[in-house]
C-alpha cells in the first residue's frame, strides 16, 4: 500500500502553517460565526491536503499514506473542526475501487462498527448509518456497502439521502443517514482481499492519529499552564501532586502516539487489511480512546475552573477527543472484537500474534 512516502516533512510543515494561520483554536473559539471556515477549506483544497491519499495521476497530491497520517495528527493538534479527515478517508475509499473523486468535502459511511449498508449490482443502496460525521456539510458520501459478491465502494449524493441532522459532543455536525433505495452516482467492487472491515480499520487508524495529535496539544498546554499558574506562592507545576498528574498525562499521550503511529505504519506497509492490521488498528482505537478519556480528565483537573469555561480552548480539544473516541468504533466495541479474535485463535497463539512485528 506504500506510495511515495518520502515527501514527508514539507507537506507536514505546509499543513501546520495552514492550520496555524487559518484555524488557530483561540481565534476559532472567539469567532461568533463560521466565517473562518471557508478560507480554511479553500486553502486545504488548494494545498492538496484533502486529496493527500490520491495519486497525482488521479488528481490528488500523491503525498502518500505516511504523510497523510502525519497531516491528520497535526490537524488533531489544532482540533481542526472541518471534514479534512473524512474527505481524505472518503477519497481513499473511492480510489480503492477506481472511482472518480468529486470536488468539495466528502464524508464516509458507515461511521461506526455495527451499521451495514447493502448495494445491488445496479448501484441501489439500502440501510442506515448512524452518526455520520459532517453528513450535512458534505455534498457527497463515500460509502462501503456489501454487494452480492463482496464489498463495494460507492459515491452517493447527500441530497439523495434522508439525513436527520444532529451534532457531536464537540458541536460538529453529524447526521443519521437513511439510504432507502438511493441510486449511487458511481460504484465499484473493492479489490479482492480488501474485505468489509477495511473502512473501519482505516477509520480507526485515522481517528487514532487525530486523537494522538490532540492529546499532544493538551499536554503542551497543560504543562505550560502549570508552569505559569501561581498558587500558594509558587507555580502549581512545582507541587509534586501536579507533577505526578502531568507525568500520568504524558504517559497517556505517549501511549496514544506510539500505538497510533504503529497502526498507521502497519497499514502503510501491509499488502492487505489482514489480521496484523486488525491487531494494530483495533489496539490503536482502544488504547488511544482510553488515553483520550483519562488524558482529558487529568488536563481538566490541572486547569481547574478556567478550563471549564467556553472562553478557554481546552474544550475544543477535550470535546473532540470525546467525539473521536466514539467514531469508527469505540474502545469497548473494538476490544470485544479483538478479544473474540484472540479467544478464537487460542491462548498459545497470543504471544506469536503480539510478537509478529
Amino acid at each position: 500500500m506504500s506510495d511515495g512516502d518520502d515527501i514527508g516533512s514539507l507537506v507536514i510543515e505546509s499543513a501546520d502553517r495552514i492550520f496555524r494561520d487559518l484555524c488557530d483554536p483561540q481565534t476559532v473559539n472567539n469567532a461568533s460565526g463560521d466565517s473562518w471556515k471557508e478560507p480554511l477549506w479553500r486553502e486545504l483544497e488548494a494545498g492538496g491536503l484533502t486529496l493527500s491519499w490520491i495519486p497525482e495521476e488521479r488528481g490528488g497530491s500523491g503525498v502518500g499514506l505516511t504523510a497523510g497520517f502525519d497531516i491528520l495528527k497535526v490537524s488533531g493538534q489544532y482540533a481542526v473542526p472541518v471534514p479534512l479527515a473524512e474527505t481524505m478517508l472518503g477519497a481513499w475509499l473511492l480510489a480503492q475501487a477506481g472511482l472518480e473523486i468529486p470536488q468539495g468535502p466528502i464524508s464516509v459511511a458507515p461511521g461506526n462498527l455495527r451499521d451495514r449498508l447493502a448495494i445491488t449490482g445496479d448501484g441501489i443502496v439500502s440501510g442506515h448509518a448512524a452518526r455520520v460525521p459532517f453528513a450535512g456539510e458534505a455534498a457527497h458520501l463515500a460509502i462501503l456497502a456489501m454487494g452480492e459478491e463482496g464489498p463495494f465502494a460507492a459515491l452517493v449524493g447527500t441530497r439523495d439521502c434522508n439525513i436527520v441532522p444532529s451534532q457531536t459532543i464537540a458541536g460538529d455536525p453529524q447526521g443519521h443517514v437513511s439510504f432507502d433505495g438511493v441510486q449511487a452516482k458511481a460504484h465499484g467492487a473493492l479489490p479482492g482481499g480488501a474485505g468489509e472491515g477495511m473502512l473501519m480499520l482505516m477509520g480507526a487508524a485515522v481517528r487514532s492519529m487525530q486523537m494522538a495529535g490532540a492529546l499532544q496539544a493538551v499536554l503542551d498546554m497543560t504543562v505550560g499552564y502549570a508552569q505559569e499558574r501561581m498558587a500558594f506562592g509558587r507555580p502549581i507545576g512545582k507541587f509534586q501532586a501536579i507533577q505526578h498528574s502531568l507525568a500520568r498525562l504524558a504517559g497517556e499521550v505517549a501511549a496514544a502516539a506510539a500505538v497510533s503511529g504503529s497502526a498507521a505504519d502497519a497499514i502503510v506497509h501491509a499488502r492487505e487489511f489482514d489480521d496484523s492490521v486488525f491487531l494494530e488498528a483495533a489496539s490503536a482505537k482502544v488504547r488511544t480512546g482510553e488515553a483520550a478519556g483519562d488524558g482529558a480528565a487529568i488536563a481538566h483537573q490541572v486547569f481547574g475552573a478556567i478550563g471549564f469555561t467556553q472562553e478557554h480552548i481546552l474544550h475544543r480539544y477535550v470535546r473532540r477527543l470525546w467525539a473521536w473516541r466514539d467514531e469508527f468504533g469505540s474502545e469497548s466495541e473494538w476490544a470485544e472484537r479483538l478479544g473474540r479474535h484472540v479467544a478464537a485463535a487460542g491462548a498459545d497463539e497470543l504471544w506469536p500474534m503480539l510478537a509478529a512485528r
Partner: protein, 386 residues
C-alpha cells in the same frame, strides 16, 4: 513548553525475527530436556548457572557488546527479541540477566581495560552473575542517603556497612555497590558517593536471606565488615557517582521485562475463558491485549531509537512507568474477568495457581528498579517541571 513525545514506528528487522525462531527452538529443547517448566510462575527469576552457560554458548549474552569482550556486536532490537522470548517462556535467566542488562555496560563505561578483559568475557559465557548494591536500611528511593562507608587505605578502600533488598546476592559473583567516600557538600547533597566493583567472595561479606511474603528467596541483606577493595575496582570518579548513576540509560528502563512479568496470567485467562467467551470476557481480554500491544510497540520503538543513536530518555521512563503499572494491575483484572468462568473448567486450577502467584508478586513490580513515584519525578523533569 515540553518536547513533543515521539516514538518512531520501528519494525523489527528480519535478523531479529530469525533470531526469534532460533531462540524459540532452543527454549523448546530446554523445556523438553526438563531444564525448566514454562508454566511454573516465577521461574524467570530463578538462577541456573548451567542454563546460563548454554545461553552463553549460543552467543546470546552480551549480544550487543564489542567482540573483544566476548560480545557479538549485534543490535538492540535483537537483544529485545531475545529478552522477550526468555521472559515469556519463564526461562531462568536471572544468572546472567542483570550483568547482561546493566552491570556489563557499566563496566565498559567506567572500569579499566584489564577488568573489562577479565570479567566481560566471563559474563558472556554465562559464568558470572551480578547483583546491584544500592539500597540500604535507611536509603531506598533516596539513593543519596547511602551511608555504607568506603575509607581510603593503602592501595584501596575499606568498606563497612549494610546493603538490603539485594536481589540474587546469594548467587552473585560480583556486586556493583554504591558507597560513601566523602560527606555530602553544602551545595550538593549528592556529592561523595562512589561506585565500586565488589568481589562477593571477599572476606568480611555476610549474606542473609530476606524471604518474600510468599517465601521465595531473592532479597538479601549484605553486610560488609572491613572488606578491602583495591583501587582498580573503583568505577568512574571518586565522589562522583551521582553523575554516573543518574545517567542511567533508557534501555535499562524500557525493556520488555518491564511489562511481561505477569504475562502468564493473561495467557491463563484466555485459556480459561475458552474459544467463545461472553461479551464481558471478550471485551476485557481485548482491552488487555490492546494495552499490552501498545506497551510492546512503545518498547520496540525506544529500543529502535537507541539503536539509531537517539536518546529517548523521557520515552524510556514512560515505558517503565506504564509497563509496571500495567503488569501489576493485570492479576486483579484477570481475577475480575474470571469471576464467572465455569468453575468446573479443566483450566480453573492452574489459572488460580497462576493468579495467586501473580497477586503475591504484583506489589514489588512498581518498586523494583525505581518506584513509580521516582519515575514520575523523572518524567516531570523531562516535561520541564523540575
Amino acid at each position: 513548553m515540553s518536547q513533543p513525545i515521539y516514538f518512531d514506528p520501528v519494525r523489527l528487522p528480519p535478523e531479529a525475527q530469525s533470531l526469534r525462531e532460533e531462540v524459540r527452538a532452543f527454549l523448546a529443547e530446554e523445556i523438553a530436556a526438563g531444564t525448566f517448566d514454562p508454566h511454573s510462575m516465577g521461574a524467570g527469576d530463578r538462577f541456573n548457572r548451567e542454563f546460563s552457560r548454554r545461553v552463553g554458548a549460543r552467543g546470546w549474552i552480551g549480544l550487543t557488546w564489542p567482540k573483544k569482550y566476548g560480545g557479538h556486536e549485534r543490535s538492540f532490537l535483537e537483544r529485545f527479541v531475545l529478552t522477550e522470548e526468555f521472559r515469556v517462556a519463564n526461562a531462568p535467566a536471572w544468572g546472567h540477566f542483570v550483568a547482561d542488562r546493566q552491570s556489563g555496560p557499566m563496566l565498559m563505561k567506567y572500569a579499566g581495560e584489564d577488568i573489562c578483559m577479565d570479567i566481560l568475557p566471563r559474563i558472556c559465557r554465562g559464568e558470572c552473575c551480578f547483583c546491584i548494591g544500592m539500597s540500604e536500611p535507611n536509603s531506598g528511593s533516596d539513593l543519596f542517603a547511602a551511608k555504607t562507608k568506603a575509607e581510603k587505605v593503602d592501595g584501596g578502600w575499606k568498606i563497612n556497612g549494610t546493603k538490603v533488598w539485594t536481589s540474587i546476592a546469594h548467587h552473585a559473583d560480583y556486586m556493583i555497590g554504591l558507597f560513601r567516600t566523602s560527606p555530602p557538600t553544602e551545595d550538593n547533597r549528592r556529592h561523595g558517593l562512589t561506585q565500586f566493583l565488589v568481589d562477593m567472595t571477599l572476606p568480611g561479606i555476610t549474606i542473609n536471606p530476606i524471604p518474600w511474603p510468599n517465601g521465595a528467596l531473592d532479597f538479601n541483606e549484605v553486610v560488609l565488615e572491613d572488606v578491602f577493595i583495591p583501587d582498580s575496582h573503583v568505577l568512574g570518579d571518586v565522589d562522583m557517582a551521582w553523575k554516573q548513576a543518574t545517567s542511567e540509560l533508557a534501555y535499562e528502563r524500557s525493556g520488555p521485562e518491564r511489562f511481561l512479568e505477569t504475562f502468564y496470567v493473561l495467557v491463563g485467562l484466555v485459556r480459561l475463558l475458552g474459544e467463545n467467551p461472553d461479551t464481558r470476557g471478550a471485551e476485557g481480554v481485548g482491552r488487555l491485549v490492546a494495552q499490552l500491544h501498545t506497551l510492546r510497540r512503545m518498547s520496540v520503538s525506544v529500543n529502535g531509537m537507541l539503536q539509531a543513536g537517539k536518546e529517548p530518555v523521557l520515552e524510556g521512563s514512560i515505558v517503565k512507568d506504564l509497563g509496571t503499572i500495567w503488569e501489576q494491575a493485570l492479576p486483579a483484572r484477570a481475577r475480575d474477568l474470571a469471576a464467572f468462568a465455569d468453575p468446573q473448567s479443566a483450566n480453573m486450577v492452574s489459572f488460580h495457581e497462576q493468579l495467586e502467584y501473580a497477586t503475591m508478586s504484583a506489589p514489588k513490580l512498581t518498586i523494583q528498579g525505581g518506584t513509580t513515584e521516582v519515575l514520575r519525578g523523572i518524567i516531570a523533569r523531562g516535561l520541564g517541571l523540575r
